[in-house]
Symmetry: C2
């Protein structure tokens, strides 16, 4: 029985109870939402991690993408590539310490399998992957053209990664002929920007045939069910420019994803839907609602969304704007965007900043959605500010470190106020006896 | 005749024509909106700056607060305080080069008058102030209690600053007895957090009398009209905690501000309304709409709003979320929030980051509001990305510098892709011939 099938059978698992306690809800609420597919608890039984619930009625969760790049530094790797692995472990630690609920290892390149195993061995949070990256890299290494990719090649990667203990996998099975026709009929300002989506588009263009992942979807589900891996249906057609948002390709793929989600649920496979992408702010809410409606209320995992294309160097801000509004509108899981997005592979500082920006967006949405814990935190901060209790403020901040450092460096010494207003502090003045 | 009275008389000024050209609208649109009070063009005739239109139907504008602090560094000022002035000029330059449309000099402390004059002499953008800071500091220096503040003390500061060439002034005339009663009757998690608001509250509490700024409002208007200074009606009762948003004090003051705005307009004084503050994300739109409705459609100038209190060290992100949604909902002018907010006086890096975050929010709202120029920028970026034209991308970014630096440092060398995906770049793949 998969975890979802247990929920359907009315069984309360330890993971459900743990998540219920974490969220401050009843275990039965988690169980019934899981049975209905409105909440997922990704967790590979071969690996023990703290379970986390993602979906309607629980707090918004944040994912951080880490992973190495196929770009080899000039001169190659003097250490044989061990530095590649170590760099990703440091990013994992940065993401977790900044408060990420999940990480995805998107490594594509040398030593990707070892990086994945190292991340899985070290991660206290759930880990996701995109198995087609492994397939594509292995094909390239063995001199085979990507278009020769078979369902078996792909299933082999899925199974190896499932055995490694991966908790959830992004699979772009919705990039099928129908979606490609919709894509071609309208055209785009910026084509397909999903790495996985572009691979499947290239295969289909080269072979003239249906996508092997779409055709073989039931076979994929069998492997996922066997290892009880959660499926994250990738949005290969996600808009990569705000001008392309909510177009035929995106919506056509979303309709396919809805069908595939039904099939996954009927096989006992937990399923999430991945969402856009680049979306103008006024279209974020409608995008979220359409995705929820078309996909039977499956947890929605959004990438940003980025509300503008011209925020390079600060895309975490554009992503936080879109993410907060998306989550308030029904999205459940925010994939972070870092300041390095569209420019280069993120470094440790980017990972940290990206996680924090997404957590701000997630918390803002939790507050807007009347999450009692979020409201309590805000009230506690109001009290800490009223009493000018700085230690309490630092403790309550989503990022405790930066505020404490800034204040220590500000030269205020032992003063109760800060260097903004000093003796003219409004709070201090209002605290004076009448 | 004030600028507003010229608009009412049907006169097209050079400033209106310049703003119309900048915004891509007809001069007559600007004139009629100015006559109606829906658009302001702050600009002190004693100082020549590039005019900028703020209000409905033109692009969202961004203000950066600069200004020195009353906190004296240990050991005082070895240079007599010249460093204080120089530091603020550097902030001015940082704000302007990052794209601020306006700055406010909020200096409160030693050499504040000289700082203001220096900022006015150097600023290519409009400059705002909060004259009660000067009054309060002068009273404190001369050993007088704040509660002895008279209307004449205040008018003297307003007039001196108007003569210096200040373009717009924040005046907290809405903190009157009615608003104070509403404030007292409900209570707050975090009282009054507006520096100016807390001063007026303290005066009223000490004297038991009506606010001198409310009582003397017509006198204040006479000075503002004489120098043609734009009035920004301060929100002394703005919520300083999300838990206090949209409370009796805030709304009571807003009703007063609506009445005062009517009086300002009838005297030919251009007027803006200042808005919250700290507001949960789900309440941002209603706050904006209520302010617009109660204040006769006056341009709305929001401080953030911050959608959570626990983002310390990253409040520019919380402010960008609130600012984008506020501007999409009708706010016209975004006051930046920097990473230093609630912690210390911002430094140069804070100013820069704060302006950029607000510009991202402003642009996201412009795009959502179908501003043709914003949409065109997005399309140009989509094209620059499709062709992997990095120089064009850098040129189009709101911040050109950071993206170019990140890419140069990424070690990609002459490659067309970036270090995120390398040869597996989706865009490159989609550009390959079929």
């Amino acid at each position: 029985m998969t975890h979802k099938q247990k929920a359907e059978a009315g069984l309360l698992t330890a993971a459900m109870e743990r998540c219920a306690a974490d969220e401050g809800v009843q275990p039965e609420f988690i169980r019934s939402a899981m049975a209905a597919g409105a909440i997922v608890i990704p967790g590979n039984p071969l690996r023990r991690t703290r379970p986390v619930a993602i979906g309607d009625g629980v707090s918004i969760k944040v994912n951080a993408n880490i992973g190495s790049s196929p770009v080899i530094p000039e001169g190659g790797f003097a250490d044989g590539g061990d530095a590649l692995i170590e760099a990703e472990i440091l990013k994992l630690e940065a993401a977790v310490s900044a408060g990420a609920d999940a990480v995805m290892d998107l490594s594509l390149g040398p030593r990707q399998a070892e990086i994945r195993k190292a991340v899985l061995a070290r991660s206290p949070v759930i880990v996701g992957t995109v198995p087609i990256y492994q397939t594509a890299f292995e094909l390239a290494r063995s001199g085979r053209d990507l278009s020769s990719l078979t369902l078996d090649d792909f299933l082999s990667a899925v199974e190896r990664q499932a055995r490694d203990g991966v908790d959830f996998m992004t699979i772009h099975a919705g990039v099928n002929r129908t979606a490609m026709e919709a894509y071609s009929s309208q055209g785009r300002s910026l084509d397909i920007v999903s790495r996985g989506g572009s691979m499947l588009a290239a295969i289909m263009r080269a072979t003239g045939r249906e996508s092997p992942l779409y055709e073989g979807f039931d076979e994929i589900l069998k492997v996922l069910a066997r290892y009880d891996v959660t499926l994250s249906l990738g949005d290969g057609m996600r808009p990569g420019a705000t001008a392309d948002a909510t177009d035929r390709a995106q919506l056509s793929e979303l309709i396919v994803l809805g069908e595939l989600a039904d099939r996954a649920r009927s096989r006992g496979v937990q399923v999430m839907i991945e969402g856009p992408g680049h979306v103008p702010l006024d279209a974020v809410t409608e995008n979220v609602r359409i995705a929820k409606r078309l996909c039977g209320g499956a947890p929605l995992y959004v990438l940003g969304p980025l509300v503008t294309d011209i925020a390079g160097g600060h895309d975490h801000v554009a992503g936080a704007i879109g993410g907060a509004v998306a989550a308030m509108s029904g999205a459940n899981f925010l994939c972070y965007v870092t300041p390095a997005e569209h420019l280069c592979l993120p470094d440790l500082a980017d990972v940290r900043e990206g996680v924090i920006a997404s957590r701000i967006a997630a918390h803002a949405a939790d507050l807007a959605l009347r999450n009692p814990r979020a409201a309590r935190l805000e009230l506690e901060m109001a009290r800490a500010r009223k009493t000018l209790d700085w230690d309490a403020q630092f403790r309550l901040y989503l990022d405790s470190e930066t505020p404490a450092r800034r204040r220590a460096q500000s030269g205020i010494g032992g003063g109760k106020e800060c260097t903004m207003c000093g003796e003219f502090c409004a709070i201090k003045r209002m605290n004076e006896p009448l």
